[in-house]
């Protein structure tokens, strides 16, 4: 579970202070699919960065999977990121001089897994996203949709509890966008909690819940109601990786 209470984040320069998040509180339950919407500059990306432990915050408390992350060292935050969080970026962020196999391998390397274990996880993740036949292609040899699916495979390979997706369909055409969303729903149905930032109201409607952010605060919050269909529950056995390996 992800629980933020009274979080504030201020960016300071010599001249101005920008309040990116003000007294921001949000609770996301296990297995939820939350869409975060809001106008540009409203604080969506800051929220995602704080949620993904990529940025610190000034005040408030943040508990991730029951653990207070406010005062964790860089080492501990990195380990949490590596083990519990998967990132999907708008611009895919694949490493251009690594092939797809090696790109998916990156988070597993930092976890210190053995070669066989890594290989198995990479193959499973690529199978989930339907890219098994392209594992030795370079990112530049793939279409935008395929690159995003490779990025999803990279996020999935570590078997994370949370998937943070920042405009995951922003750089692909509408057909590919639908495929990516289908994939995210499929992953969520297998138990992974997903928080997705989007500008697209159509995509937001496909989430369990919408969180609308304006000026660093939540302006509209629909309560969480777990879906009855397709929800398998959390835990390794129900994870997309476990499903694939099974």
């Amino acid at each position: 579970m992800l629980e933020m209470t009274g979080i504030s984040k201020i960016y300071r320069t010599d001249l101005i202070e920008t309040h990116a998040l003000r007294d921001f509180s949000l609770k996301v339950g296990d297995g939820e699919f939350v869409a975060v919407t809001g106008p540009s500059g409203s604080g969506k990306t800051t929220f995602m960065n704080v949620a993904g432990l990529l940025e610190t915050f000034d005040t408030g408390t943040y508990r991730l999977d029951g653990e207070d992350v406010s005062r964790l060292s860089d080492e501990a935050r990195s380990r949490l990121r590596n083990e519990k969080i998967g990132f999907i970026f708008q611009s895919f962020n694949l490493i251009p001089d690594l092939d797809i196999f090696d790109n998916v391998d990156v988070p597993l390397r930092y976890r210190g897994l053995g070669r066989k274990d890594r290989e198995q996880r990479i193959k499973s993740a690529l199978e989930v996203v339907g890219l098994s036949s392209r594992m030795h292609h370079m990112p530049s040899q793939l279409s935008g949709g395929q690159q995003q699916r490779a990025a999803i495979a990279r996020a999935l390979a570590g078997d994370p509890r949370f998937l943070l997706a920042d405009e995951p369909t922003g750089n692909v055409d509408s057909l590919m966008a639908r495929q990516v969303m289908d994939l995210l729903e499929q992953i969520n149905e297998m138990g992974t909690t997903i928080i997705m930032v989007t500008h697209d109201p159509e995509l937001a409607r496909r989430a369990h819940r919408n969180v609308h952010i304006v000026d660093g605060q939540i302006s509209d919050l629909k309560p969480y109601e777990p879906r009855e269909e397709g929800y398998v529950g959390s835990g390794a056995a129900a994870s997309p990786m476990a499903m694939s390996q099974a």
């Binding site: 940025e55 490493i95 988070p107 930092y110």
Partner: protein, 445 residues
């Protein structure tokens, strides 16, 4: 993880070949200049006869002005040379296993009936043990006898270089040669030999090539040979004739002895002290007793063979290396920051600051290793160039071989230098890249 970091390092270096070449080039150039300078410094400050350091001694006695020391800067040290008569008196001792008294001179050499023009030749007027005591290699023949020293007999040893010039390199033992219009018979040809520094006579610099001609010491009196090195005196004397010169208090003769053990050393020291006391009693040499037997390594230190210029040169070389490394730091920083977005992705995927730091440090290590290897090759090339500058006649490059030779110590020094210096230079960029918050990288995407 080291293997993974190494793999990433090579990938990253291949990504920007121009920048990589610049960094490696900067490191290599800095290392090469340092290797060259250090090799030169080692050649000049090293002991070229280290294997005999415990048995070979420069003999000095303080027969200088009773009112003041010979060296203002080092008042404890006696002068480096002997008067002619003191040299002969001490040379008479049969305690040393080998002994030599000698000085530098200049003569004109020519060969009757040959087309080669007479030429000026640096000459060492010496007793016969010169070749054995300093392990001088011979190409043909050998040295002369005791009788030739005292006779004196008209015998001569010439250098390989002079032999090649006068006799086209053939075995010239037995050939006749004229030295200052006096006929000598060649008994030996010295092979390539150039101890660096030229420790046995440091009076006129320590990078000179050894003399081309060697004649018996006994010829001094017969041919009235003056020293072409330093002749120093402290006493106002009337020196009208060569005999006056030989009997004067002028010092111009160097003396070395070989004493194989402590016992012979003590005995010879006692001999020197007795002789000095005897001279004092006779009214000469009124300075306090200060006779010394100095080993070659200490001799080089005492005589400031490694001058301040050399140390300054080494300092400048290291300053140059620092400039090269500073440039490398800039290039590394630019390269790492250029790759920051990808580092940001890695951070987002779970790499800690420490892991990012190590990854980049390994990349620096690869740059430093290649830079060091290239620096060694470049250093060797620079040394060969230096050799060409120092040697007018490449056929007699014996001494400069020492300059142009990159020894193991220089290799190890270069490697240590490269690793320590470049890693030190890479610490900041590697640390800096790890400190930037990952979100900033991702925004840059």
């Amino acid at each position: 993880m080291f293997g993974y970091y190494l793999e990433l390092a090579f990938r990253n270096l291949k990504r920007n070949p121009g920048l990589t070449a610049l960094m490696i080039g900067a490191v290599a150039l800095g290392i090469a200049v340092c290797v060259m300078t250090l090799t030169m410094y080692r050649a000049m400050s090293g002991n070229p006869i280290w294997w005999k350091n415990d048995v070979l001694y420069a003999v000095t006695m303080d027969f200088w002005d009773p009112e003041q020391p010979a060296w203002d800067q080092k008042p404890d040290l006696p002068p480096t040379q002997f008067t002619y008569r003191d040299a002969l008196a001490v040379y008479a001792s049969d305690i040393p296993k080998r002994k030599v008294i000698m000085h530098k001179a200049v003569g004109i050499v020519s060969v009757d009936g040959q087309q080669v023009k007479p030429e000026r030749a640096l000459t060492r007027v010496t007793t016969k043990d010169f070749f054995a005591i300093f392990d001088v290699p011979m190409q043909y023949g050998g040295t002369w006898t005791d009788a030739a020293d005292t006779g004196p007999e008209p015998v001569m040893v010439i250098s390989r270089k002079l032999n090649e010039k006068l006799f086209a390199g053939a075995n010239s033992v037995g050939e006749r040669i004229r030295w200052n219009d006096n006929e000598f018979r060649i008994v030996g040809v010295r092979d390539h030999w150039m101890p660096l520094p030229t420790f046995y006579d440091v009076n006129n610099g320590s990078l000179e090539e050894p003399e081309d001609v060697y004649i018996p010491f006994g010829w001094n009196a017969a041919l009235e040979i003056y020293s072409a090195g330093n002749t120093n005196g402290w006493k106002p004397e009337e020196v009208d004739t060569y005999e006056d010169f030989l009997n004067s208090e002028n010092i111009w003769v160097q003396m070395w002895v070989e004493l194989p053990d402590a016992q012979s050393r003590d005995r010879f020291m006692a001999f020197l002290d007795n002789y000095a006391t005897q001279q004092k009693n006779a009214g000469r040499h009124q300075r306090p007793l200060n006779n010394r037997l100095t080993k070659p390594d200490q001799w080089l230190v005492d005589n400031d063979v490694v001058g301040n210029d050399d140390r300054v040169l080494v300092g400048l070389a290291f300053a140059f290396l620092a400039v090269c490394l500073l440039n490398t730091v800039g290039l590394l920083l630019a390269k790492f920051l250029n790759g920051a977005p990808m580092t940001g992705v890695r951070r987002a995927l779970g790499a800690s600051r420490k892991q990012v730091f190590y990854q980049h440090l390994v990349e620096v290590g690869v740059v430093s290793s290649i830079g060091a290897a290239l620096g060694l090759v470049l250093g060797a090339v620079l040394l060969v160039g230096l050799r060409a500058l120092y040697t007018l006649d490449p056929s007699d490059a014996a001494g400069t071989q020492a300059i142009a030779h990159v020894d193991m110590t220089s290799v190890v020094t270069a490697l240590v230098l490269a690793f320590v210096a470049t890693l030190a230079a890479g610490l900041y960029p590697a640390w800096r890249i790890g400190r930037i918050p990952p979100a900033s990288y991702l925004k840059a995407q």
